[in-house]
């Protein structure tokens, strides 16, 4: 395998949201992301998977500086992103973009599709004024929209078409990194496959790097080259896609994979379903955050936070037992 070029390196990124009480006094913090380190290589798709509230969306937004990190550093191609000024982070938007989950609420209902797309060009000052419309129309065709959609409003489009607009809006500034936050979760199966194909096509055509966030294991498995599993603000396991599914090491990954229903009615899975619910990120368990639901938990797990260790090349896991 050829040496991949590093695009983004995150080191011990933390994002805490303050909980304010009476008179704005900070009473506690929601530890949404609590010390995550990862690297994204050029042209790869990094899948981020985990349950609701595990901090995967917050991590995605923090990595591209949509949310300022509380602690830690994010370096994109040699540029430190934490602590960028407003003007600098605006310029950053031509390199990193985001596709949102809900195509119904992430498009401005008062703007025509064409205006939504050219607005990004205006802000980034890309292309001459007269060319911007042509640029938008060309991209619309690439993502499978018709030229006539240029003058339509978002409510006139179907869910799948809206998600195409969402992707076009991200791609029009020609970014290197696109964070896709559950881009197909709100779509029906038949539309989902259209959008997934489109995402893969655009990646090949433009050498894009994706950070693909999803809770759907079959989708993540299809699009990702590497996968990171998150639990309660921590990355607990990271491996290439084939390795993770063939040999899941962390007890949480195993539980997660065993809970995914199979598409084959002949397979009757033996499931090990985790007991109870996700603990609150306001007051996370001490030591290993998974110890409250882990079938193997021991005293050491309750006290000591396991480090991420590389067991096989590219396969990292944070667990005392392995």
């Amino acid at each position: 395998m050829e040496e991949k070029k590093l695009l983004l390196r995150a080191d011990n990124v933390k994002k805490y949201f303050p909980i304010t009480g009476l008179f704005g006094k900070v009473e506690n913090y929601v530890k949404a992301v609590d010390g995550v380190s990862l690297e994204l290589c050029k042209g790869e798709t990094y899948g981020l998977v985990g349950e609701t509230g595990c901090g995967k969306s917050t991590l995605g937004r923090t990595l591209i500086h949509l949310l300022p990190a509380t602690e830690g550093s994010v370096v994109l191609d040699g540029v430190e992103l934490t602590g960028l000024s407003a003007a600098e982070s605006r310029r950053l938007r031509s390199r990193v973009q985001m596709v949102f989950q809900d195509p119904y609420t992430s498009l401005n209902p008062r703007k025509r599709i064409g205006d939504i797309l050219t607005e990004a060009l205006d802000i980034q000052n890309i292309g001459a004024k007269g060319e911007r419309m042509d640029m938008a129309m060309e991209l619309m065709q690439q993502v499978g929209l018709l030229v006539e959609h240029y003058y339509r409003y978002p409510h006139e489009l179907s869910g799948g078409q809206r998600q195409r607009v969402g992707l076009a809006r991200a791609l029009i500034v020609n970014p290197e990194l696109v964070v896709c936050d559950e881009p197909v979760s709100a779509l029906d199966v038949s539309v989902q496959s259209q959008i997934l194909n489109l995402l893969v096509d655009m990646q090949k055509k433009r050498q894009l790097t994706y950070l693909f966030i999803s809770h759907d294991m079959s989708v993540i498995r299809y699009v990702s080259d590497r996968i990171g599993v998150m639990y309660l603000g921590h990355l607990v396991e990271e491996a290439d896609t084939a390795g993770l599914f063939a040999n899941p090491l962390h007890p949480y990954t195993r539980l997660l994979l065993s809970a995914v229903p199979s598409h084959d009615p002949h397979v009757k899975k033996q499931r090990t379903v985790p007991e109870g619910d996700l603990p609150s990120p306001i007051d996370p368990p001490s030591g290993c955050v998974f110890h409250t639901r882990c079938p193997k938990a021991c005293d050491r797990c309750k006290q000591e936070l396991p480090e991420m260790r590389e067991l096989e090349p590219g396969h990292k896991v944070a667990c005392h037992w392995i």
């Binding site: 038949s190 079959s218 997660l256 809970a259 995914v260 229903p261 199979s262 598409h263 084959d264």
Partner: protein, 325 residues
């Protein structure tokens, strides 16, 4: 052979709109046996939820909806009952679990009170007895420390817990038929697995019939015995679950199954795509409803609507070409 508890025949539900009647469900027929889980699968707008709510007659018949056809529950025709008789069936003999537990539960009553309400209406239990039964139900659906949770309000519980409370309310009067409308769609896979296991376990224990409505084919594959696939208000295919997944006969079902990113597929292989989008109910195509999106459509498909052809082992498909595909 189990006895049939629900027979739906030629059910048609039309909504009164400004532009006239819109048929959301058009001639749907199926039956559910006691102890059986029937899956109803389809994409949004295919009429699967309308079908289930029509069985319960939940739509206002004066201003909103027109029902045709027949729904027989244990031999009784539901469409000829009056509202009072219908009320004695709803929640008692036929119960329903909805997708969004937060908006289906009443936020100003504790979950215990909401379970007790059903018990006092249908079984005439007094407060103490109802409370005891409510706690027992919460324990049955696997809620830890039910004595305490009984006094909790819906917002104090997690999504999975709320869905369990919904199931507890639905099951407290021991219904003969449970309609679960996307019971796990809003939940995570681990919670989904817990809830589906619970539904299957209770289905076996209480020997009730279950209609499981979902858009998720893998949930169907794992839990149902028989499946009906719906498209634009009609059942397009019906079969035993293994048969449907092994040898789908309708092009729509085939497309759905192929478009799932299945195990082992990588992004080097393109996913199968059903071309186009689901048409609006006001623009239902002539002939076969799937013909504009069907890769095999012929002239006959575009002109004449196919009937539901009966096949072996109750494997039916609404397609002119189903014996050749």
């Amino acid at each position: 052979m189990s006895k049939t508890i629900l027979e739906v025949e030629n059910l048609t539900t039309s909504f009164k709109t400004e532009r006239g009647l819109l048929k959301a469900v058009d001639g749907v027929s199926f039956r559910v046996d006691a102890g059986e889980i029937l899956g109803l699968v389809g994409e949004s707008g295919c009429g699967k939820s309308v079908t289930s709510q029509s069985i319960m007659r939940l739509y206002d018949e004066k201003y909103l909806a027109v029902y045709e056809g027949s729904v027989r529950f244990e031999g009784r025709e539901l469409f000829s009952l009056n509202e009072k008789e219908m009320q004695s069936i709803r929640g008692k003999d036929i119960a329903m679990v909805f997708q969004d537990a937060l908006s289906s539960l009443n936020p100003v009553f504790t979950v215990g009170e909401q379970i007790m309400e059903a018990l006092s209406i249908h079984q005439g239990l007094r407060k103490d007895a109802a409370r005891e039964k409510a706690i027992e139900m919460l324990r049955l659906v696997g809620i830890p420390s039910p004595e305490k949770r009984c006094d909790a309000y819906p917002h104090e519980l997690s999504g999975g817990m709320r869905q369990r409370v919904m199931i507890a309310i639905a099951l407290c009067c021991q219904p003969k038929l449970l309609i679960a409308d996307e019971p796990t769609t809003a939940l995570d896979v681990t919670i989904q697995a817990q809830i589906m296991d619970l539904i299957v376990e209770l289905n076996e224990k209480l020997h009730m019939g279950v209609i499981l409505i979902t858009h998720d084919l893998s949930v169907i594959a794992e839990t149902c015995q028989r499946v009906a696939v719906m498209y634009l208000g009609q059942i397009v295919e019906e079969a035993e679950v293994t048969e449907l997944f092994d040898a789908p006969r309708h092009p729509y079902t085939q497309g759905l199954l192929q478009s799932i990113p299945g195990s082992g597929k990588t992004k080097e292989e393109r996913l199968f795509v059903i071309e186009g989008t689901v048409p609006l109910l006001s623009q239902i195509p002539e002939g076969c409803r799937f013909s504009p999106r069907c890769p095999h459509a012929t002239d006959r498909c575009r002109r004449i609507a196919p009937p539901l052809f009966a096949g072996e082992n109750g494997h039916n498909a609404r397609c002119w070409l189903c014996n050749r595909l």
